[in-house]
């Protein structure tokens, strides 16, 4: 009969490449032979990994095939469709799930189209399959209809059985003396239930299957359809997404500007102090969690980094300058892409860790490898919902529970990711926006966002109460002007600003003149600049600069103006750059000590004075570091088809031609020695002497003795366990002597082989590492 190894060997290169792409762990490290590939594909850890990411329907199909195989033998796809109760409309989905399972090598079809469970899958699925009791509960092989006795059953028996039919198969025994207890006793007496312990009864497999009337499942596990999710108008989604995106870009820019001017320090553990976070949040006018997210997102995008100084600070990177010079859409795309693949968990900021300390933003420990997968999974769910459907966290949770029932992310994380998506504008009004859709599809998300951004407005309505309204999204020039000279009061579809003495002063401080400012405002205004605003600008300009401040290192004061005037012009003091601020005050750019010394050298008799009042302006230097290359998320590493292809090529080199039929493969040793396919294997004797030709291929291929890879032995054992066939095993004893026995493997688990020795009619358990060689026993 066919085996899984044989099946794999008969795959085309393309099919193998596809498998390695679907199950990347099979390719790392490179398997040397197809047999070792098969071994790896049937190992518990690889199967668990593969099963983790299959959806509920695929799991159901696997369960169904397992159950059907045990009752009617390997089923066809049609039988599986019937067994899971698929309506004609659902049948294609079940067929798709079967193909999926085959593509993942969890099932393999025989030449006649029947489906076989890949060795090891049954164990990986666990003891209770499809809500049935484990095999061996009750008399599984008893002949006849198990329900025949039900005709005489006391009342209530049917309802007891109904409750257990579709699983779980365990029921609580009612208190003794009640009618229900009697019913249960009757059912146990007639073999329709078995007692598990004092308090529990089990529905035996055979009975359950009979009650299910040939089905394995009540209904196919279909993906949630979100038919009830509210659908948002496309315009609303686009507007809210654009608004959020624009806001995030603006806030990140403000954050960078702020940190450029006053960079916060890095905590010893590597994060951002809570006080710095709070201050940043206040400056950006957002709450702390939002600020933490902005900081994390900026850092993820490589716009912020630890400057690595002796007392380190977080500062904008060189990349931040490039970023800041771009338009809104590409800036957003940078943030969005970084966010999607980031393994950071900003929502944990502020919560307490195991030691009770608060988690800080930018703390290196806030990285979780599963987060990028979660972000993508959440967006995938949103993308799979109808356009405009606003899904709640519960909806997404349900969908993810279906997509990977063996690994359901916690609801709180899903909620957090949805909040992040909303802030970023990937989602608008709860529905995936077109920019978000492009992001998931790895298309140009920036372009998609640009299409949703409302057309920029160049015009501002200036009013007599010193406010102004831009009736739309301000153009970059207008935005700059407003940022320079006004305070923003509210944002949304429009921007409202207020001009105050302070805001105008800010513009003047930045080097603008009153005329310049009024001209720019006049150019942008619809109608004239209102008189009160013009008056305000002129009035502030009139007061601007009435006080002057500057830097000097030392001063000299004297009551005699003539003496100071002489010093200011003295060429011997020129290097100290002395200058008169007032007839009686002179300042110099030298330290007081130098100044005093110079004056004394000129024969004067100065005295030092308390230095209070000398102004020293320390201008913080602009600091930049290069962003560290982001570590790409390991979970996203999928073997490129080329890489997979090279793996396959390696496999082929060590293997016989694919076209050869499975039996022939087994009959032909790599050394070319003919083997009698139908004959019994050569006895163990002399095998150590190098009589490898006497042993059936492929297990002795290329090696004088033993199986070339321990993994190969495992796959043969698993195949044999499933097919309930016998194998020859060579077991190395504690004394180093090999013992060859014919056994029927029952189970390979936890590094041990449990097998039946049919000749001695005894069960033996042996550590796998003691098995030097395994050979199919052909009868």
């Amino acid at each position: 009969m066919a085996t899984f190894t044989g099946y794999l060997r008969a795959r085309s290169d393309d099919e193998l490449v596809a498998l390695l792409v679907r199950r990347p762990d099979l390719a790392t490290p490179h398997p040397a032979t197809l047999a070792s590939l098969a071994a790896r594909a049937t190992s518990r850890s690889s199967l668990d990994r593969a099963l983790t990411w299959v959806d509920a329907l695929v799991l159901q199909v696997l369960e169904s095939v397992v159950v059907l195989t045990s009752t009617v033998g390997p089923p066809t796809t049609a039988q599986v469709q019937a067994a899971v109760g698929a309506a004609p409309d659902d049948a294609p989905r079940v067929a798709r799930a079967v193909q999926d399972a085959v593509a993942l090598a969890l099932l393999w079809p025989d030449d006649d189209g029947t489906l076989h469970v890949t060795p090891g899958v049954t164990d990986a699925l666990g003891a209770s399959v499809a809500g049935l009791a484990p095999p061996g509960t009750g008399d599984d092989d008893a002949p006849g209809d198990p329900l025949a006795d039900l005709v005489d059953a006391p009342p209530g028996a049917t309802s007891v059985l109904d409750a257990l039919t579709w699983g779980p198969a365990v029921g609580l025994v009612p208190p003794p003396g009640t009618a229900a207890a009697d019913t249960v006793t009757w059912l146990v007496g007639h073999g329709l239930l078995t007692r598990a312990d004092e308090r529990h009864v089990l529905l035996p497999r055979r009975v359950a299957l009979a009650l299910r009337a040939g089905r394995t499942h009540r209904a196919p596990a279909l993906a949630p359809a979100f038919a009830d999710a509210p659908v948002r108008d496309a315009g609303v989604v686009a507007a809210e997404s654009a608004r959020a995106a624009e806001q995030t870009v603006r806030l990140v820019r403000q954050l960078l500007t702020r940190w450029e001017q006053s960079p916060p320090g890095v905590l010893r553990a590597g994060g951002l102090g809570a006080r710095d976070l709070r201050r940043t949040a206040q400056a950006l006018d957002v709450d702390d969690t939002h600020a933490a997210w902005l900081v994390e997102t900026a850092a993820t995008a490589g716009l912020l980094a630890d400057d690595g100084e002796e007392s380190p600070s977080f500062v904008p990177t060189l990349e931040a300058d490039v970023w800041a010079a771009q338009d809104v859409a590409p800036r957003w795309a940078t943030l969005a892409r970084a966010w999607l693949t980031s393994a950071r968990t900003p929502w944990l900021v502020g919560e307490r860790d195991d030691r009770g300390t608060r988690r800080a933003a930018l703390d290196p420990e806030l990285t979780r490898p599963w987060v990028p997968r979660l972000r993508r999974a959440v967006l995938d769910v949103l993308a799979s919902a109808p356009r405009g459907a606003a899904l709640t966290a519960d909806d997404v949770h349900e969908a993810l529970r279906w997509r990977s029932p063996r690994s359901v992310p916690p609801l709180s994380a899903i909620e957090a990711v949805l909040v992040e998506a909303g802030r970023l504008g990937v989602v608008g009004a709860g529905a995936l926006a077109s920019a978000g859709r492009a992001l998931v599809a790895d298309e140009d998300a920036g372009e998609a966002l640009a299409a949703d951004l409302p057309a920029p407005v160049d015009e501002i309505l200036l009013q007599g109460d010193l406010t102004g309204v831009v009736p739309g999204r301000p153009s970059p020039d207008l935005e700059d002007l407003l940022e320079l000279a006004a305070d923003v009061e509210s944002r949304g579809g429009a921007v409202t600003v207020r001009f105050t003495a302070d805001s105008v002063l800010r513009a003047l401080d930045a080097g603008t003149t009153a005329d310049d400012l009024l001209t720019r405002l006049g150019a942008a205004a619809r109608g004239r600049v209102p008189q009160p605003l013009e008056y305000l600008v002129r009035d502030v300009a009139r007061r601007h600069g009435r006080l002057r401040a500057g830097a000097a290192s030392s001063y000299v004061r004297a009551d005699d103006p003539a003496l100071l005037a002489g010093l200011a012009d003295d060429p011997r003091l020129a290097s100290l750059r002395p200058r008169l601020l007032a007839p009686t005050v002179l300042v110099a750019d030298a330290s007081p000590a130098e100044l005093l010394e110079a004056l004394r050298a000129r024969g004067l008799a100065p005295v030092a004075e308390d230095a209070r009042g000398a102004v020293v302006h320390a201008v913080a230097p602009e600091r930049r570091v290069r962003a560290r290359p982001r570590r790409s998320a390991p979970v996203h590493e999928r073997p490129l088809p080329q890489r997979a292809a090279s793996v396959v090529a390696t496999l082929r080199r060590g293997d016989p031609p694919v076209s050869a039929p499975v039996t022939a493969v087994r009959a032909t040793g790599p050394a070319g020695a003919p083997v009698d396919a139908g004959g019994a294997p050569a006895p163990a004797a002399g095998r150590r002497g190098g009589a490898s030709s006497a042993l059936p291929a492929p297990l002795t291929r290329g090696a004088g003795r033993g199986t070339p890879e321990p993994g190969d032995a495992l796959v043969v054992l698993r195949e044999a366990a499933q097919a309930r066939t016998a194998v020859w095993v060579e077991i190395v004893g504690p004394d180093g002597r090999a013992d060859r026995r014919l056994v029927r493997p029952l189970k390979v688990e936890g590094g041990r082989l449990r097998a039946l020795d049919p000749r001695r009619e005894a069960e033996l358990t042996v550590a796998v590492h003691r098995i030097a060689d395994v050979t199919h026993a052909t009868d």
């Binding site: 315009g235 608004r243 009004a429 309505l461 200036l462 009013q463 007599g464 109460d465 944002r491 429009a494």
Partner: protein
């Protein structure tokens, strides 16, 4: 609609572009639920507040209408969260109702038992609620009706008061519409109020709030208690009622510091009601002196806190609040809402002005540069003296001179805060002065002389802020005020807004000392005027020809 006049911001402000074709229709549609925050020349700002939305609910609008209106007029897609919030907020009004139960009397009835459970468990309702009747009803002591409503608004579950009112003692009152008639908006205001039971009518100064009061009294035809801010105002109410209604002098009593008459219609001042002797309000019995069918509160935004407390006990009587603005400088808007009632009628100044019922006004701020010695005195003074120093700068006299000269022959009021300054100004201008010390008789004489045009210039202190009718004043010059009070600014502007016989524009001048707190306070007040849509300009005193 893509080209609508309205922009809905996510911070719940609504921006209405007034030059838009549909601006008028939109304004009418959003007025019931959005509070007009400012109305400068191009874009009016409205705000959605819980009180505003509850006012709309009380007026019979539902969330769906509000949402539809926003969607209909909005230029850009309306933020979804805002729509959800509107619906959520509006659904909170009326889930609790105060009803009259035939057996148990006043009962708080819940349409949603969970809300009642939340409210009864709150500490704030302790002592206000009586026995629980069933899952949805709990007895309320009649004397706590007002307090309970206050508390429920604070808890965010405003109750709809369906418990009705006592009829009160009937008393025939009719309007005498001989040669005049209630203006259409006044009629609407009376209807709006009466339909709603109790509540507030918001009309700008000069729009005839007294007549709305008279109209409501005629409709009610019951004994009425009118609460006003001061004695002058009380006399004005009396005169107006005698002139406009079937009431005679004998039917109207004055209850003030000087007289204590209780008649079918009694006009009392806030002051007398809040007078305490030995810690007791001595005139509280007035409230129960008769079986009042209607209580009118003039200038609701000035209602003192003790009156709120007394009003809480008067919930079974119809209450009409009259005011020019719901903005209270003390932020007690929610108490007005819960104790007097929701807003029942509202018409913005500009509308009534454009209908010709109040005069257009032009506001000018005159900036005066202080001479150096005054600047030095100001710069070195204690902070608490600064405003007085700046406000009473001597140069202001010359500015007032030049302004009075510029408007020679027009009825001019000079308004100030500080008595010394006013005395000096009156002397300087050779004009009469009215302050709190002026006797009522003297005040009446001067007002009458001003009215007839016998005198054209009058210097007044803040007593003139409220409720005195100076029909032909067309110029107001304020030299000092009370620390930038917006409400005072509104009242003072109201002095000159009665429509002029010749349809002239009124002028409102504020004289301000440059670079002082005076200017800062003025900025605060002027913002209010500009927000109300008045053309506002700033000029330098030098430009008026006033020498430094």
């Amino acid at each position: 609609m893509p080209d609508g006049p309205l922009i809905v911001q996510s911070d719940k402000t609504l921006l209405l572009e007034v030059d838009h074709d549909q601006a008028d229709a939109c304004r009418r549609a959003i007025a019931p639920f959005a509070e007009l925050e400012r109305a400068p020349e191009h874009v009016h700002t409205y705000r959605l507040t819980p009180l505003g939305l509850w006012n709309a609910r009380a007026a019979g609008h539902d969330a769906e209408q509000v949402v539809d209106t926003l969607l209909q007029y909005s230029r850009y897609p309306v933020p979804h969260a805002l729509l959800v919030d509107v619906a959520e907020t509006m659904s909170r009004y009326g889930r609790l109702q105060l009803v009259q139960d035939p057996v148990h009397g006043l009962v708080l009835h819940a349409l949603d038992p969970a809300v009642l459970a939340e409210v009864t468990r709150s500490k704030r309702t302790a002592g206000l609620l009586g026995a629980r009747l069933d899952e949805t009803d709990v007895v309320v002591h009649p004397s706590e009706r007002g307090h309970l409503k206050q508390v429920l608004v604070k808890l965010g579950w405003p109750a709809e008061d369906l418990a009705g009112y006592v009829d009160g003692e009937a008393h025939e009152i009719a309007l005498l519409e001989d040669g005049w008639a209630l203006r259409p908006y006044q009629k609407q205001a009376v209807d709006g109020f009466f339909h709603g039971g109790s509540g507030v009518v918001v009309l700008p100064c000069g729009a005839g709030k007294t007549l709305v009061g008279a109209g409501a009294m005629a409709r009610s035809s019951t004994t009425t208690l009118i609460l006003v801010t001061n004695t002058v105002s009380a006399r004005q109410w009396r005169d107006e009622l005698v002139k406009r209604t079937s009431l005679t002098e004998d039917e109207i009593g004055e209850y003030s510091g000087t007289r204590k008459e209780v008649r079918p219609v009694t006009i009392a001042t806030y002051q007398v009601l809040t007078t305490k002797r030995k810690g007791v309000y001595t005139h509280l019995e007035l409230l129960d002196a008769r079986d009042w069918g209607l209580i009118v509160y003039d200038e609701v935004h000035l209602l003192p806190a003790p009156i709120f407390r007394m009003t809480a006990d008067l919930q079974a009587r119809r209450r009409l609040g009259l005011t020019a603005t719901l903005v209270r400088e003390d932020g007690r808007e929610d108490e007005v809402f819960s104790l007097i009632g929701p807003k029942r009628f509202d018409a913005p100044w500009k509308d009534i002005e454009s209908q010709g019922y109040i005069a257009p006004a032009e506001c000018v701020e005159v900036r005066l540069t202080l001479p150096d010695h005054e600047r030095m005195a100001y710069a070195t003074s204690e902070p608490e003296d600064r405003y007085r120093l700046a406000a009473t700068a001597s140069g202001k006299n010359r500015v007032v001179d030049s302004l009075v000269a510029r408007h020679a022959g027009e009825q001019t009021l000079v308004i100030g805060q500080y008595l010394d300054q006013l005395h000096e100004l009156a002397e300087h201008l050779g004009a009469d002065l009215i302050t709190g010390e002026t006797t009522v008789r003297e005040r009446q004489r001067l007002f009458d002389a001003f009215r007839t045009g016998e005198i054209t210039t009058l210097v007044v202190s803040k007593v003139a802020n409220f409720s005195i009718d100076l029909p032909e004043a067309s110029v107001a010059i304020q030299v000092s005020g009370s620390f930038g009070s917006r409400q005072e600014e509104a009242q003072r502007l109201g002095r000159i807004m009665r429509p002029k016989a010749d349809g002239k524009t009124a002028h409102f001048y504020t004289v301000v000392a440059r670079d002082t707190v005076d200017q800062e306070f003025a900025a605060h007040r002027q913002r209010f005027l500009a927000e109300q849509g008045y053309a506002y300009t700033i000029v330098d005193a030098e430009d008026l020809g006033v020498a430094r």
